[in-house]
């Protein structure tokens, strides 16, 4: 029995960890390669969730909503990179923090104007609506398993994209030495635009698949942003592998913190980060 409870919490941790990874991987790539601290990344997650809420209302189908929502997220990322972020590449981190902070205020308010301040729920598709019986009185929702599997597929796709494709080669090279990549004749400006849009779509996708379980509400992006930053810092900035390990660690700390030490649960995540940073000031896989 205790074993089963443990298993359920473990599954929950992994599922939360995967979601965090989708948000954090974009964040870490954008910082590692473009040198941009993007505070608005959580707002992309929120926009994804609201898009899927809006589009399921129209199409009545989660899959269509996601398929329609992803291009919109890519377009949003494209425009923000072109008309705001691209002016910041040579500026101090301070200004990046501020500009993207301003973007959060704008995006949060746009969300309120378009969709109001109420909490909304997105229905779980019928095929995935069931629960797996684990013991006589403990079940596990199929949709949560589905999230984990989808995120795993996306993570695998990302792994192939970065490790095996030409674009991935440019991304990896760019994270090591941006100037050299530029000198070799690669259009770094375009690479940045692609990368930023991709990051926005990844964060938006996380919001989309999470919407049916977490419900959709104003400010949902702020919460996940801060936690994702913790993930990135634990993993080491710029490292996708680090982001994965960091996301799992944070998922475990958060879920088990809530079960074992409910009074200080929300502190657990930050405590984990502090411990890691004392041990390794540049994160687990950060380059010195």
């Amino acid at each position: 029995m205790i074993l089963m409870t443990f298993l359920i919490q473990l599954l929950n941790s992994v599922q939360y960890g995967f979601l965090l990874f989708l948000v954090a991987s974009g964040l870490t790539l954008i910082f590692g390669i473009m040198g941009i601290i993007n505070l608005a990344h959580g707002a992309f997650y929120m926009l994804g969730a609201y898009l899927v809420y809006w589009l399921t209302g129209i199409t009545d189908n989660l899959l269509y909503a996601v398929l329609l929502g992803l291009p919109i997220m890519l377009a949003i990322g494209f425009f923000i990179e072109r008309f705001a972020i691209s002016f910041l590449y040579r500026r101090d981190h301070l200004y990046q923090v501020l500009l993207t902070y301003g973007l959060i205020l704008v995006l949060n308010e746009v969300q309120k104007i378009l969709w109001g301040t109420d909490y909304h729920s997105v229905p779980i598709p019928e095929i995935l609506g069931g629960s797996l019986p684990l013991t006589e009185n403990q079940v596990y929702p199929v949709y949560r398993l589905f999230i984990s599997l989808v995120c795993l597929a996306v993570a695998a796709g990302l792994y192939v994209l970065i490790g095996r494709t030409r674009l991935g080669m440019m991304i990896r090279a760019g994270s090591v030495n941006r100037e050299m990549v530029e000198a070799l004749g690669i259009n770094v400006r375009r690479l940045f635009t692609v990368l930023f849009s991709l990051g926005a779509a990844l964060a938006g996708f996380a919001g989309m698949v999470d919407a049916p379980v977490s419900s959709v509400y104003p400010g949902m992006g702020d919460q996940i942003l801060i936690v994702s930053f913790v993930v990135v810092v634990i993993g080491g900035i710029g490292s996708v592998k680090g982001a994965f390990i960091g996301a799992m660690l944070v998922g475990l700390a958060d879920t088990f913190g809530e079960v074992l030490l409910p009074d200080v649960a929300s502190v657990m995540v930050y405590a984990t980060m502090t411990v890691v940073l004392i041990w390794r000031p540049r994160g687990l896989f950060g380059r010195a």
Binding site: I37, L107, F229
Partner: protein
């Protein structure tokens, strides 16, 4: 950058005179508003000590501001005022201690890691107060009575009177400015500014930069705590929002809007931000949209803040003075 030029000094003196006579003419609503501006001015100056003079970009500075306010709220009984001689030292010591602990962990990192770890510590405190129902949870705590300022049973100041509070805060603002100027002119101040310019070289000169940065962090945290104390006295309530990251972002914005590394710029920024907030709120319920747009516009078009505006305008007319390239802090 250490001492303001003569024309700036004259302008600052005029500003102080204007503030000193303001309550005679302003309506009480505006007197109240200016009190808030001055408190946030102290808060912003304390952050400028870190950003503009030590080269440490803290994104969790509101932690000390809010913590101190909570200490005041906790030490004030529900039945009567707490003595300022008890509350103020408690708030200052509390925020200094918190800054010492947080700083001890944080200042060994730099650049983005410093930004993130200060943010994380502030969030830890935020959740501590937010989740703690004994401390009012997300609603926070009321401070029913303003601290009593008396010696031997004789009341020296009545902080309930808005004009008295106004002058106390004004004196605090001037005192904080003067204190920071003295610190920056001292050998210690020279060293931290050396760290901002080039930490490796400062260390090579034989200064234990870790300790200097830590002391600077503690001074800034304590001063932020002082501002938080005043905020608690003035506002009469303390809630987790005061230590949240929106507050940290707002004060960061004040420093940048005013102009980094000038001290008086931080105060200007605080005045401008509170004024804008107030104005935008009157214009529309979606005032955050305007605020966000304003923040973005400042970053894109006003790289040196309000304090750098005369220079920037001057540069439009003289071809020779090119704007110096924005520096990058060490990563």
């Amino acid at each position: 950058m250490n001492n303001p030029s003569r024309s700036v000094t004259i302008l600052l003196a005029l500003g102080v005179i204007a503030l000193a006579v303001f309550p005679r003419f302003g309506e009480s609503f505006y007197v109240d508003l200016v009190v808030r501006m001055m408190i946030l001015g102290i808060f912003a100056m304390s952050l400028d000590l870190l950003i503009g003079f030590t080269g440490l970009i803290s994104f969790g500075h509101a932690a000390f501001f809010g913590l101190s306010g909570y200490l005041l709220a906790i030490s004030t009984p529900e039945t009567g005022p707490v003595s300022i001689w008890l509350a103020l030292p408690l708030c200052l010591l509390g925020s200094a201690l918190a800054a010492l602990v947080i700083g001890w962990f944080s200042v060994r990192t730099s650049g983005i890691y410093f930004i993130m770890i200060t943010l994380a510590f502030a969030q830890m405190l935020f959740y501590f107060f937010n989740d703690n129902t004994a401390l009012g949870g997300s609603d926070g705590l009321f401070i029913y009575f303003k601290p009593g300022v008396s010696v031997g049973g004789v009341t020296l100041l009545n902080l309930d009177n808005v004009n008295t509070l106004y002058y106390v805060v004004l004196a605090s603002l001037i005192g904080a400015y003067a204190l920071l100027r003295v610190i920056l002119r001292s050998p210690f101040g020279r060293v931290i500014q050396g760290i901002r310019a080039n930490e490796a070289r400062t260390r090579a000169l034989g200064f234990a930069t870790f300790r200097y940065k830590l002391v600077s962090f503690v001074i800034a945290g304590t001063l932020a705590g002082f501002a938080g104390f005043l905020q608690g006295v003035h506002g009469g309530i303390m809630s987790p929002a005061y230590l949240g990251w929106h507050e940290s972002g707002t004060v960061l914005m004040m420093v940048i809007l005013g102009g980094i590394g000038t001290l008086y710029g931080a105060v200007l920024g605080a005045f401008a931000m509170v004024f804008l907030q107030d104005w935008f709120q009157e214009l529309t319920e979606h005032w955050l949209l305007l605020m966000g747009g304003f923040v973005i516009a400042v970053v894109l078009f006003l790289p040196n803040g309000i304090a750098g505006l005369p220079h920037q305008i001057g540069a439009l007319f003289t071809r020779r003075t090119a704007r110096p390239p924005p520096e990058r802090h060490g990563e």
